[in-house]
């Protein structure tokens, strides 16, 4: 077994184990963390496939940004895990049928002879001076620069749409207004009350005259 094969089996086993834990673990925070592990192992496998740039992007974007956001959401929302698991037994038969069909389909495709080692030989690797970051960048910023810019506009529209649809002032919500807080004067905050001095004698209390 070459080192590359060993690395593949090592990361693949971690990947499958982590993926299985994502759906079986009870605590949603732990599930999210297992998903991070799964993404990371997948990135390692991509590196063995010479897709270094995509692997690093996967770690940066999915692990660094998306999953952290997921964790925030999971921690901030009050998710009732027991309620989510309620229908498990009820949905099990349908789920099992869908899973079985998918396994059969995969089996048919994989055993059809089009995916064995003869018909899918290992592609010859690139030389040492080959950088796939550079290649991706060249394509993205020359041939597809227009599509790339348009995708940026599309994302801008998505942001504008999301904000405009969710952000609105409700009259019942309480707001802080820093500008008004800064401008506050003594007269608004402090009220000096004139009152006669009180005697220590308890018998005089409640008798204002």
């Amino acid at each position: 077994m070459s080192f590359l094969q060993f690395a593949f089996y090592f990361f693949a086993m971690i990947l499958i184990g982590a993926a299985a834990r994502v759906v079986t673990v009870r605590n949603p925070v732990k599930a999210a963390l297992y998903l991070v592990l799964a993404f990371f192992s997948a990135a390692c496998i991509w590196i063995t496939l010479e897709a270094e740039f995509l692997a690093i992007v996967l770690v940066l974007v999915y692990v660094g940004a998306v999953m952290v956001l997921f964790l925030f959401v999971v921690m901030m929302l009050d998710i009732d895990v027991a309620r989510l698991r309620e229908g498990f037994a009820r949905y099990l038969p349908v789920g099992a049928v869908v899973a079985a069909v998918m396994v059969i389909e995969l089996g048919v495709v994989l055993t059809s002879g089009r995916f064995d080692l003869e018909s899918m030989p290992r592609p010859s690797g690139h030389g040492q001076d080959y950088s796939n970051t550079r290649e991706v960048g060249l394509l993205l910023y020359t041939d597809y620069v227009y599509a790339f810019e348009l995708a940026a506009v599309l994302l801008l529209v998505a942001i504008v749409a999301a904000i405009v649809l969710t952000l609105r002032r409700r009259p019942t919500t309480l707001y802080q207004s820093p500008a008004r807080q800064v401008r506050v004067t003594k007269a608004e905050r402090l009220r000096v009350v004139q009152m006669p001095s009180e005697s220590r004698n308890k018998e005089n209390q409640g008798d204002p005259s």
């Binding site: 227009y146 599509a147 348009l150 801008l156 504008v160 649809l165």
Partner: protein, 486 residues
């Protein structure tokens, strides 16, 4: 490759509109509350006019491919871009007071409308499946948000949800079709696809699947029967100013992408898709016209009428020659102008807290506002296809094309359903001219802004077929299509 080889000027109008949309978003934040609406609105309309001028100045009689093959500029894209910019600008002017009264006229509304226009312009000048798809998504995304902007209205939210879900489904289908086409032909460029497809035999199964999915995706977006379920809900549920926007210019964009994807790239398969489109076109014309009769809601009725008009438009496409394509293009342009006018009338008539979307609201309009009623009469006659109006010329050219293609048996039922359709258009005329006004109908036209009334008048007069523009446009469409075909 030097920068000048990029032909970046082919996308000048898109660049202008996109930059100004971003600027309007920013200006809107910085402006004081009162100046906001006037300045933002003025900037939006002048941006669209500027883009229209840019199209005219940069027009190209030939066939230019730019930006590494992602973009094409030809007569068709020029005419379509010009139409899209002008029609969108007019639609925004019509909708101004309506939108303002419902407190929707914010910087985001205007920016989304502009980004949607960019999406349409990208679509009409796409020479590559990626550009085409991104343009389509850009436009659709803006439209979903524009519809949902009216958050206090349950109908608008429902319409946006339905449109979003079905639109996403249609996008998925179209994308799958594109991936199949890519897999089969090995290229994403439209000209390359055409070349590669002509090498296939017509009964190649994967190609047939790709073709069917392309057609289903496009017809979903177009709203033809049997993929029309979203049209009435979206037309009726959206704020009327958004309905005016989505019922007019997008039809031109839809024509161009159908032309480029189906009629040009997949023309070698003409015999296969012609039969499918015949079925869809006849179903749309029949179903749209019959169901429209039962509607009491004006916007719903117009939605079903649009479905039937889309059927006519497909009749032009399925003729499969340059006569048919130019007839379809003329039909799309005229339909956009007429729809713009009809929704302009509805917008003009509705006021604060009054939607003017029931047919009964139009009872006796000729007595309360004779000029508006007259304009509405012109639009209705044009939709019905009565001779002095442009609607007649549009239908005539489509029928000529269909009969010229030897499909007389398709033309006859279509013509019969035009007669059926005349009933519900004329019913509106009857309500306006022969019924007594309903006391509760508020008359607001005097308060409506003058500029939209003036534009509406121009719009109405354009509909009378003696105007020379119709010949000019018909000629331009014919020349444009001939160039593309060669």
């Amino acid at each position: 490759m030097r920068l000048s080889d990029l032909q970046i000027w082919t996308i000048t109008p898109e660049i202008i509109v996109a930059i100004m949309a971003c600027a309007i978003l920013m200006i809107d934040v910085a402006m004081p509350e009162r100046a906001r609406k006037t300045i933002g609105f003025g900037l939006t309309v002048s941006t669209l006019l500027l883009a229209a001028i840019a199209v005219v100045v940069g027009q190209d009689a030939g066939y230019t491919i730019g930006l590494y093959g992602l973009v094409v500029q030809d007569r068709v894209s020029d005419i379509a871009k010009l139409g899209i910019c002008l029609i969108t600008a007019v639609a925004l002017v019509y909708g101004r007071s309506y939108t303002e009264e419902r407190n929707l006229l914010r910087g985001e509304f205007l920016a989304l409308a502009l980004f949607g226009t960019v999406g349409m312009m990208v679509m009409v000048s796409a020479n590559h499946l990626i550009t085409l798809y991104i343009g389509l998504e850009l436009f659709s995304l803006c439209l979903y948000a524009l519809i949902a902007l009216h958050r206090d209205s349950a109908e608008a939210t429902e319409a946006a949800m339905k449109y979003f879900v079905l639109g996403a489904l249609a996008s998925g289908i179209l994308l799958y079709a594109m991936s199949l086409l890519y897999g089969l032909t090995g290229t994403l460029e439209l000209a390359g696809i055409r070349q590669s497809v002509s090498g296939f035999s017509a009964d190649d199964l994967p190609l047939a699947v790709a073709l069917i999915l392309v057609i289903v995706g496009l017809l979903f977006k177009l709203g033809a029967v049997p993929f029309h379920m979203w049209v009435p809900d979206v037309y009726a549920g959206s704020p009327t100013s958004v309905t005016a926007y989505l019922a007019s210019a997008p039809k031109i964009a839809a024509f161009v992408i159908i032309l480029r994807l189906l009629a040009i790239s997949l023309e070698p398969l003409l015999e296969v898709w012609q039969d499918m489109l015949i079925a869809v076109a006849l179903l749309s014309i029949g179903f749209g016209n019959l169901v429209a009769i039962a509607q009491r809601n004006m916007k719903r009725m117009l939605a079903y009428s649009t479905i039937s008009h889309m059927g006519f438009f497909l009749l032009g496409i399925l003729s499969g020659d340059s006569v048919g394509y130019s007839a379809a293009m003329l039909y799309a342009v005229i339909h956009a102008v007429v729809s713009l006018g009809v929704f302009g009338c509805i917008l003009h008539f509705s006021g604060e807290g009054f939607e003017a979307d029931q047919l009964d609201d139009y009872r006796g309009l000729s007595k309360t506002d004779p000029w508006l009623a007259f304009l509405m009469l012109l639009f209705m006659l044009s939709l019905a296809g009565v001779p002095p109006t442009v609607g007649f010329y549009a239908k005539l050219s489509v029928f000529q094309a269909v009969i010229g293609a030897g499909l007389l048996w398709v033309a006859v039922p279509a013509a019969l359903f035009v007669v059926v359709g005349a009933f519900y258009y004329l019913r509106v005329v009857k309500l306006m001219y022969f019924d007594e006004p309903v006391a509760k109908t508020p008359v607001r036209s005097s308060a409506a802004p003058l500029e939209s009334r003036a534009l509406l008048t121009v719009n109405g007069l354009l509909i009378i077929g003696i105007m020379p523009w119709i010949g000019v446009i018909a000629e331009a469409c014919r020349n444009a299509i001939l160039l593309v075909g060669s």
